[in-house]
C-alpha cells in the first residue's frame, strides 16, 4: 500500500527522502564499480516489465478478488540488489507521477518501504542464505514465500510508523498495525507464490538467460552481510539525526512526542519504568491538551509554533467559513475566466 502525501508531515517526508536518496547514490556508485553497460537497457526494460506485469490481474483462489504483482523481490532475485533497487525506485517514481500513487513527497517513503526492504534487507539476509546454491524448485518456493512476506510486512509496518510519526491520523498504533499487517500477510503469500512460480518458470524454460544475467550483474553474488548491516546502521544514524534535528526545530513537540511513543513501543524490553514513561508521554500526546482554552482568538499566533486549536471563538469560525466560501469562489472564478478567455482565443 502506498504512503500518501496527505498523511505525511514535512519532517518525516524529508527524512525518508534523505535516506532514499542516500541509498540511490550508494546503489548507483556500486553499479558503476563493476560496470557493464549492457545492464542499462536491461534495467530499463525490466522496469517497464514490472509496470506491464502490474497491470495484469489475476483471480485469487477462493476469494474472488483480484491481485497483482508488486515485483520488488523478483527484481532483486533476477538482477541483484543494487540494480533491482534502482529499477524499483524508477517504477515507483513513474507510478507517483502518472498514476498519482502516493505523491511526490511520499515517494521517498514509498521507495524506502517497497525498494530498500526487499533489495537491501530481505534479499541478502533471507533469500540468499535460504536458497544458497540450490536450484530445487521447492527451496526457491520456500525462500521466495518467506522473503516476500517478510518484505511486505516490513513495508506495511513502516507505513504505520511513518503515519504515526507524522501525526495526521488518530489511529492508535495497535489498531493500525492490526489493520495493516494481516492484509499484507495475505498479499505477501499470494505474491510469494507468484514470485517463485515466475522464477522457476524462467529457470525451466530458458536456464541460460538467468545464467547470463547473473554473469553480467554487478556484485550480486558476493554481497556481504556485514556491509549491508553497516550501510543500514549509517542510514539509520543519518536519518535519525535528521529527524531529531527537524524535531527540535519544531518546538510544538507533537511530532517529536509521537515519535517517542512509537519508538518506545517498539522496544518492549525496558521493563523498568515503562509505566511512568508511558504515562508522561500520554500526558504529552493527549491531543489538544489545551483543548478548552478560553475564547481568545489566536489567529495572529497560530503560525507554526502552535499546532493546537486555531481559536474557537464563534466569530472566528464564522469568518473562517465565510472566508472559505469566498476564497473558493474566487479561485473557481479565476479558473473559469482564464478558461473562457483561452477558448475565445483559440
Amino acid at each position: 500500500m502506498h504512503m500518501a502525501d496527505a498523511l505525511l508531515s514535512p519532517a518525516v517526508g524529508t527524512t525518508l527522502w534523505a535516506g532514499t536518496l542516500a541509498a540511490m547514490g550508494y546503489a548507483s556508485k556500486k553499479m558503476k564499480e563493476k560496470f557493464d553497460d549492457k545492464i542499462i537497457p536491461l534495467m530499463g526494460v525490466l522496469g517497464a516489465f514490472i509496470f506491464a506485469a502490474q497491470m495484469i490481474n489475476f483471480t485469487i483462489p477462493g476469494t474472488g478478488s483480484s491481485g497483482h504483482l508488486g515485483g520488488g523481490m523478483i527484481l532483486a532475485i533476477m538482477l541483484g540488489p543494487y540494480a533491482a533497487f534502482l529499477v524499483m525506485a524508477s517504477v515507483l517514481t513513474v507510478q507517483a507521477l502518472f498514476f498519482a500513487d502516493g505523491g511526490l513527497l511520499a515517494l521517498g517513503c514509498n521507495i524506502w518501504n517497497l525498494g530498500i526492504y526487499p533489495c537491501f534487507l530481505v534479499y541478502p539476509l533471507i533469500y540468499k542464505p535460504l536458497v544458497g546454491d540450490s536450484r530445487s524448485p521447492r527451496r526457491i518456493l520456500v525462500a521466495s514465500l518467506v522473503s516476500v512476506v517478510a518484505a511486505l510486512q516490513l513495508g506495511a509496518f513502516s507505513v504505520v510508523v511513518e503515519t504515526l510519526w507524522s501525526g495526521k491520523s488518530e489511529l492508535p498504533f495497535g489498531t493500525f498495525v492490526l489493520l495493516m499487517q494481516p492484509i499484507h500477510l495475505a498479499i505477501g503469500i499470494v505474491e510469494g507464490f507468484v514470485t517463485a512460480g515466475v522464477i522457476n518458470y524462467v529457470r525451466n524454460a530458458r536456464p541460460e538467460i538467468l545464467e547470463s544475467i547473473t554473469a553480467s550483474r554487478p556484485l550480486g553474488a558476493e554481497i556481504s552481510v556485514r556491509k549491508v548491516i553497516i550501510t543500514f546502521v549509517v542510514l539509520v544514524v543519518v536519518t535519525g539525526g535528521a529527524l531529531s534535528w527537524f524535531a527540535s526545530t519544531h518546538p510544538d513537540g507533537l511530532e517529536w512526542s509521537i515519535e517517542k511513543v512509537t519508538g518506545k513501543s517498539e522496544l518492549p524490553t525496558q521493563e523498568h519504568g515503562i509505566a511512568p514513561v508511558l504515562k508522561s508521554i500520554q500526558e504529552k500526546t493527549a491531543f489538544l491538551p489545551d483543548y478548552n482554552f478560553g475564547p481568545a482568538s489566536t489567529e495572529e499566533k497560530k503560525k507554526e509554533e502552535s499546532a493546537s486549536w486555531p481559536g474557537i471563538e464563534a466569530g472566528t469560525s464564522v469568518a473562517g467559513i465565510v472566508g472559505s466560501a469566498i476564497v473558493l469562489g474566487m479561485v473557481m472564478l479565476i479558473g473559469l475566466v482564464i478558461r473562457s478567455f483561452r477558448r475565445r482565443h483559440t
Binding site: 502506498h2 500518501a4 502525501d5 496527505a6 498523511l7 505525511l8 514535512p10 540511490m24 547514490g25 548507483s28 553497460d37 542499462i40 526494460v45 525490466l46 522496469g47 517497464a48 516489465f49 509496470f51 497491470m55 495484469i56 489475476f58 483471480t59 474472488g64 529499477v87 525506485a89 524508477s90 513513474v94 507521477l97 498519482a100 505523491g103 511526490l104 513527497l105 495526521k168 488518530e170 489511529l171 499470494v190 507464490f193 507468484v194 512460480g197 515466475v198 518458470y201 524462467v202 524454460a205 530458458r206 491531543f287 502552535s306 499546532a307 486555531p310 474557537i312 464563534a314 469560525s317 467559513i321 465565510v322 472559505s324 469566498i326 476564497v327 473558493l328 479561485v331 479565476i334 479558473g335
Partner: protein, 269 residues
C-alpha cells in the same frame, strides 16, 4: 476493460504534456522546484487546519486553466487513488471526539476537522503532482532531476522505463487479450496461468533488452544518454518561481481566508 483504459490514460497524460502553453513552456526545473515547494507548504500545516488550505487551490487551478488541462480528467485520477487516504482519515472523526463549537449552537467533533484537512491536503498534493506531469514532458522532468543532482544512472533508468512502458504494456495487452479469449468466466484467470504469463512476458523482455542493447551499441552508446534538448532558465522562469514563493509565503503565514471572511462580514453587516 480496465487494462485498455489504464493504458489510454497513461498515453493521454503524455499527449497533454506536449501542448504549447505558457505553463508548458516554463523550464522543467522551475516547475519541479515550484511544485515541491508547494507540496511542502501544504503538508506543513497542522493536522486541524482546514480554512487556511483553501487559498492553495489557486495553484492547481492556475496550472490547469493556463495549461489547458481538462479538469474532469485530473479529478477522475485524483478520485481513483483517494481510497487509502480516506480509509486512514475516516477514523479521525470516530476517535477524536472532542467537541468544537463552530457556529453558535452547532458543534462537531474535532476529528472531522482533521479528516477534512487530510482530504484537502490529499486533493492539493495529488493534483499538483499530476499537473506537473501533465504540463511537462516526462523526458524533460527526468533531465530536470539530473540537473538537480539525481544520479545519472537513475535518470537514464527512468528514461528507459518510460520509453518502454508503452511497448511492454502493448505486449502485455496482447497476452491478456489472448488469455481472455480463451477463458470463460473465471476459469483461466487464476494464479497458474498468471505465473506463466508473467514468465513469458519476462522472457520476451529479456530478449528485447538484448536487441535494444545491440541496436544502441551500433549507434555509438557509451553508457550514458546525452540530453538532446538544451534548456535555459529565463527571466520568466525566475519570476515564476519567485512569485510562487511569495504566494506560498503569504498563504502560509497570513490567514488570508479569515481576513476575507471578516471583510465580508463587515461589508454585509
Amino acid at each position: 476493460m480496465t487494462f485498455d483504459k489504464e493504458y489510454y490514460n497513461l498515453g493521454r497524460l503524455d499527449r497533454l504534456s506536449y501542448k504549447n502553453t505558457f505553463v508548458h513552456r516554463l523550464d522543467p526545473r522551475a516547475k519541479l522546484i515550484a511544485t515541491l515547494l508547494f507540496l511542502f507548504t501544504v503538508i506543513s500545516f497542522s493536522k486541524y487546519e482546514v480554512v487556511a488550505l483553501i487559498p492553495f487551490f489557486l495553484f492547481p487551478v492556475l496550472f490547469m486553466t493556463i495549461g489547458d488541462i481538462p479538469f474532469l480528467f485530473i479529478l477522475k485520477k485524483v478520485l481513483i487513488v483517494s481510497p487509502f487516504a480516506i480509509f486512514i482519515g475516516i477514523f479521525n472523526p470516530l476517535l477524536d471526539t472532542g467537541h468544537v463549537l463552530v457556529l453558535s449552537g452547532l458543534t462537531i467533533s474535532a476529528g472531522w476537522f482533521s479528516f477534512f484537512s487530510i482530504l484537502l491536503k490529499f486533493a492539493l498534493t495529488i493534483s499538483a503532482a499530476l499537473l506537473l506531469i501533465a504540463t511537462t514532458p516526462f523526458p524533460s522532468v527526468c533531465h530536470a532531476f539530473r540537473r538537480l543532482g539525481m544520479p545519472s544512472l537513475f535518470v537514464s533508468q527512468l528514461l528507459f522505463l518510460y520509453r518502454y512502458i508503452f511497448v511492454l504494456v502493448e505486449e502485455a495487452m496482447r497476452i491478456v487479450r489472448a488469455r481472455d479469449m480463451r477463458s470463460f468466466g473465471a476459469s483461466g484467470t487464476g494464479i497458474k496461468v498468471f505465473v506463466r504469463i508473467i514468465g513469458i512476458l519476462f522472457l520476451r523482455t529479456i530478449e528485447r533488452a538484448e536487441r535494444i542493447y545491440y541496436a544502441m551499441l551500433s549507434r555509438g552508446f557509451q553508457g550514458d544518454i546525452p540530453t538532446f534538448k538544451r534548456s535555459h532558465i529565463t527571466a520568466i522562469d525566475l519570476v515564476f518561481v519567485a512569485s510562487t514563493i511569495l504566494f506560498l509565503f503569504v498563504f502560509r503565514f497570513f490567514s488570508v481566508t479569515q481576513g476575507v471572511g471578516r471583510i465580508a462580514q463587515e461589508l454585509f453587516r
